[in-house]
């Protein structure tokens, strides 16, 4: 039962994340189109769903906070207030807060209660600030009760125990709850399951439930009562009008609302997620100690770590290490949770089911044929086998396709980011997105978010000039950042483009010389200069800002992208702008590779890392200190390594002149690797070595070759590292 509930909770969190995204997107649009009622309605509906669902799972904090947002949204929707930038800002910050509240409900760190209180106040004053002059006599009433007044001010508490024949007469409590919602605002609803019998004696046609509703409405009590017209003769129904603001001012009381007062045992639904109250709270509530005494006592309380240090049981270093470990594992656990599920378009699944159907048909035709096979039917057999092959290939593609998601989900965070950056830096920035529908692997999408964010921040902070500088340079005041995604060959290209000042060749060069990355005598081409900004610790920004300029970032971007098997390239023109192009493989599960042979072993070299392959002349190879071999490739000497030496294999050739050299590039470094022969180029499916064995140095993974045997995929970086680690290999 509890696992079931947690399953639903996961769905709730997923849905809430969607709703949050809708709200944020809507709010950003709303700033541009303050009069768009559709938009407002959409935002309101999203907020409303979060509120309703969170109530169902007992996440009171989320529900209460969303309710306050909803109040403001409702007033905007009804035209009682109009959308101002300030209001939009408060709402946007509230969505952030709501997202952290949801995170807290999921087991993450709780947000700062002060921030929440402050935001709640801002929300209340935004919704109450321009309260209509109809109630000037409010006087000392709080802003919150002014809101109540605005909505209608009447607050009813309804306790309803429906008659047990409710379902038999075809009456649906959900319908009634909906009607209550239509009357005004359903502040809270609490389901009491206490009279629910054990499952084996449960009569599915009987109603065992009862509810407590809190409704705020402008309507009369008789109207509220009319909702229950059909059922009020039997069962139990009380409708009490509460004094204004009662149960809304004090938080403690609000808590009470969610716990069914007459239920002797807590309803499993309402408290499933909330912890039992701390001892201190109970002591205060029962009057044993005062709040002050408790706070004082709590302030004396120390953390385990501090106590251990005091008792000299552990050193501060040990404790901080342990704490770090704890944090890391928490982060790790969270990461695991994030990637747990995937949403797939039903159309994709339908297509897949069709294909599997076809596969089954082909298979049965084949087995039918095999039972009474004669040589005369060979042509038919070949045709069927070809059909099977087609089916299989298509199913493979479709199954891969399930992991493919439109990149739009990775782009969706940028409108907000750019808006905030533009606010902070005082620059006017517009963000143009295109190619959001381009699909790529879910894992890739998850991993490119951070690098892309770095690039967009960079463009906004360094790339684009302040408005006056732009105007002085005959540029439109409004700077543009363009994000585009498209397919190119077997890879995905994502470009981040700005029309700002472009990279400054001289500045980068000066900085590189100053930090010793290049010497003054070196003559570098543009294409050699731009990649310098990917070096760790490289920043030409004159001042470090809150946004960027600390020189961490670009190197991380490059590293992350390369970890995904992709590349980053730069195109720039001084004064015109910069384009960063990320080229990524479509999926991580399949790579394009070159199969090479060393002796009797077959290896796959990722095509992305191969620059060229050459058949060297004996005189092009030189040695240093008798061992280190170098190969002259059109005037540049590259270190050469023999794959059979690194991997201790039996080669066919030990003479470089007879063998083939692959010029490989990894992290900007070029090496020549000697193999016996190139067999061909093919797509290979990456299989994990760690699943049943462990990571093998120099091997990125394994794959199954055409003949059913296993081939290894070369990890170029790893190969280099092995070669360097054990240079004096006894060969």
């Amino acid at each position: 039962m509890s696992t079931d509930l947690s399953h639903f909770q996961d769905a709730f969190f997923e849905e809430s994340a969607d709703h949050l995204a809708t709200m944020e997107e809507g709010l950003l649009n709303l700033e541009q189109h303050p009069d768009d009622l559709d938009l407002l309605n959409r935002i309101f509906r999203a907020a409303h769903s979060i509120k309703g669902n969170s109530g169902m799972f007992g996440f009171t904090a989320v529900g209460q906070f969303t309710h306050k947002m909803e109040t403001l949204l409702d007033r905007l929707r009804n035209g009682q207030l109009s959308v101002t930038p300030a209001i939009a800002d408060v709402l946007l910050r509230s969505t952030d807060c709501l997202s952290s509240l949801l995170e807290a409900a999921r087991g993450g760190a709780a947000p700062d209660p002060e921030t929440i209180a402050k935001l709640e106040e801002e929300l209340a004053s935004a919704s109450g600030g321009q309260a209509s002059p109809a109630e000037p006599g409010q006087g000392p009433a709080s802003a919150q009760s002014a809101v109540n007044q605005a909505i209608g001010g009447r607050h009813f508490r309804i306790r309803w125990t429906p008659p047990s024949w409710l379902f038999q007469r075809g009456l649906d409590p959900i319908q009634m709850i909906k009607e209550l919602e239509d009357l005004g605002t359903l502040v809270s609803r609490t389901l009491d399951l206490s009279s629910l019998p054990a499952f084996d004696v449960l009569d599915s046609e009987c109603c065992y439930l009862s509810w407590i509703f809190d409704v705020e409405t402008a309507k009369d009590k008789s109207v509220v009562e009319s909702v229950f017209d059909f059922v009020k003769d039997e069962g139990m129904l009380t409708i009490e009008e509460q004094a204004k603001g009662e149960g809304r001012e004090a938080r403690g009381d609000a808590k009470e609302l969610t716990a069914p007062p007459q239920a002797p045992r807590p309803s499993p639904l309402a408290v499933s997620d909330s912890e039992p109250k701390p001892l201190g709270e109970i002591l205060v509530e029962t009057g044993v100690v005062s709040r002050e005494t408790l706070d004082h006592a709590l302030s004396q309380q120390k953390r385990v770590g501090e106590i251990l240090i005091e008792q000299h049981a552990a050193t501060p270093q040990q404790i901080s290490q342990a704490l770090q470990k704890q944090q890391e594992s928490a982060i790790h656990a969270k990461k695991g949770a994030d990637t747990a599920s995937i949403r797939v378009d039903t159309a994709k699944i339908d297509k897949l089911i069709n294909l599997v159907g076809e596969l089954v048909i082909t298979q049965s035709m084949l087995s039918d044929l095999s039972v009474r096979f004669e040589m005369s039917q060979l042509a038919v057999l070949l045709e069927r086998v070809a059909q099977l092959e087609r089916n299989t290939r298509e199913i493979q593609e479709r199954v891969m396709g399930i992991r493919m998601l439109p990149i739009g989900s990775a782009f969706s965070r940028f409108p907000r980011l750019v808006r905030d950056l533009s606010g902070k830096s005082g620059k006017k920035i517009q963000l143009v997105l295109s190619g959001e529908e381009t699909e790529l692997d879910k894992t890739v999408i998850e991993s490119i978010g951070d690098p892309l964010t770095h690039l967009v921040r960079n463009s906004a902070d360094h790339g684009l000039e302040p408005p006056d500088e732009r105007l002085a340079n005959d540029k439109p005041e409004l700077g543009t950042i363009r994000l585009n995604a498209f397919h190119e060959g077997g890879s995905i290209c994502i470009t981040v483009e700005d029309d700002g000042r472009g990279l400054n060749r001289d500045k980068i060069l000066a900085k590189a010389i100053k930090s010793g990355l290049v010497s003054e005598q070196e003559k570098l081409t543009d294409d050699q200069i731009w990649p310098l900004i990917f070096k760790p610790g490289f920043s030409t920004a004159e001042k470090v800002t809150d946004v960027s300029g600390r020189g961490v970032g670009m190197d991380v971007v490059k590293r992350n992208i390369e970890a995904l098997g992709g590349t980053v390239s730069i195109k720039t023109a001084l004064g015109k702008g910069t384009i960063f192009t990320l080229k990524l493989p479509l999926t991580l599960a399949i790579i394009e590779g070159m199969t090479v042979r060393v002796g009797s072993d077959t290896y796959i070299v990722p095509l992305l890392s191969i620059l060229e392959s050459i058949q060297p002349k004996a005189e092009a190879i030189k040695t240093l200190v008798g061992k280190g071999e170098l190969i002259n490739v059109r005037g540049t000497y590259l270190p050469m390594m023999r794959m059979y030496e690194v991997f201790s294999l039996q080669p066919e050739y030990t003479e470089p002149a007879k063998a083939i050299l692959l010029i490989l590039e990894t992290e900007g470094e070029r090496v020549a690797v000697m193999v016996d022969e190139i067999l061909g180029q093919q797509q290979v499916v990456i299989k994990s070595m760690e699943q049943n064995f462990r990571k093998v140095d120099g091997v990125a993974g394994a794959t199954i070759l055409g003949d059913g045997t296993v081939g290894f995929i070369l990890d170029v970086r790893g190969l280099l590292e092995i070669a360097r680690r054990e240079t004096p290999v006894a060969a």
Binding site: V646, L649, K687, N692, F693, R694, I704, V710, F712
Partner: protein, 172 residues
Amino acid sequence: MAAATLETATKELNQQIGLTTDGSQFLTFQLGEELYGVDILRVQEIKGYTAVTKIPNTPSHIKGVLNLRGTIVPIVELRTKFGMPTIEYTMFTVIVVVVVKEKIMGLVVDAVSDVLNIDKKDIQPPPQFGAKVDVSFLNGIGKSGEKLIALLDMDKLLSDEDLQEATTTVAA
């Protein structure tokens, strides 16, 4: 409830076909003249020997990897692992596929013989030879008639170097 019924049923069935469940069942196989046993529950399947792909820079008893219906499975040569002389593979040479700590591995052995039921009373603790002969990977010695069967402790046998190496290489 259902599980208990099933258990009783299995017990009865086993008794009928002459297998008692008091004690454990072992798959026994040969290395030269010696008999070894693996807990039958650890065995996933037995397959004939097919060529494997050698993994670069691994200890010699790691024979290589094999494609087992799409999964990459490492193959351990038990003779080399025990420091016994290697022999030519014959048509009896088989790979016993076992599950160790959720990982699947294959063991190359000379031949499989029988599934034996060995009573607890017929199992004695492994003998001590000191440093001369390493028998730390044995669970005990089983007796079945005149035969002596060395019962392997799979977790000790395979995780010691082969899997723990993983942690050291990663940490390095």
